[in-house]
Point group: C2
């Protein structure tokens, strides 16, 4: 890539993943139309939560993501995505570490309407 | 996946690509927060255009995408993405067929402010 400072940045997803290793702490890698593109590493079990006003898209880059819903469980494999509609309570989990790309409004908080020790403020990388 | 009708759909990107082979005719595969997730096949040269009010995200699933800008050229490889900011005139092209996932507001027209024979209305698959 012949990059000049004025050109939009091309983002290499695998390279970005070398820059952080913390789990459950999404990193911001892009912004478009009021949405952030985020990368995260998930392993183990998160908390049940919902986002009142935001649909949340999970695209699996590597590994296998499980999302528990009250109606049943979803498994999202590498190269697959799912969109959890606003208001739907969900519990992301992963038996082994999974790399997930997320698209969601800038307003989205990782723990939804809950504020606890797992709530984080996402950082740009 | 133990799917019930009430569960959000898990979308397999490779499987969706088996459902269409037309180039330059994006298909809609998801909707979140007023944005569509689209899949498209590109080969050859498109037309110079811009989107006055929409940033446009191109994520390369397979192959290599070139985007010409007046300031220079970008190459986006498999596993990479770029966001072309609103108002920036650009010309997507590909020497060989490339599979691209796009994330953009529902209002986005493929040819931007131009209406011609390459303008299409995107279909859900």
């Amino acid at each position: 890539m012949t990059e000049k400072s004025s050109l939009p940045k091309v983002v290499n997803i695998a390279q970005k993943y070398t820059l952080f290793h913390e789990q459950w702490q999404p990193r911001i890698v892009g912004e478009a139309n009021g949405n952030y593109v985020k990368l995260t590493r998930l392993e183990g079990e998160f908390i049940w939560h919902r986002h009142a006003n935001e649909d949340e898209m999970f695209l699996v880059i590597k590994g296998r993501l499980q999302i528990r819903l009250h109606e049943g469980d979803l498994w999202v494999e590498e190269g697959e995505f799912v969109i959890i509609p606003r208001g739907v309570e969900h519990l992301p989990m992963a038996e082994e570490e999974v790399q997930v790309m997320m698209f969601e409004p800038k307003s989205t908080v990782n723990t939804g309407e809950i504020q606890n020790e797992r709530t984080v403020t996402d950082q740009w990388i």
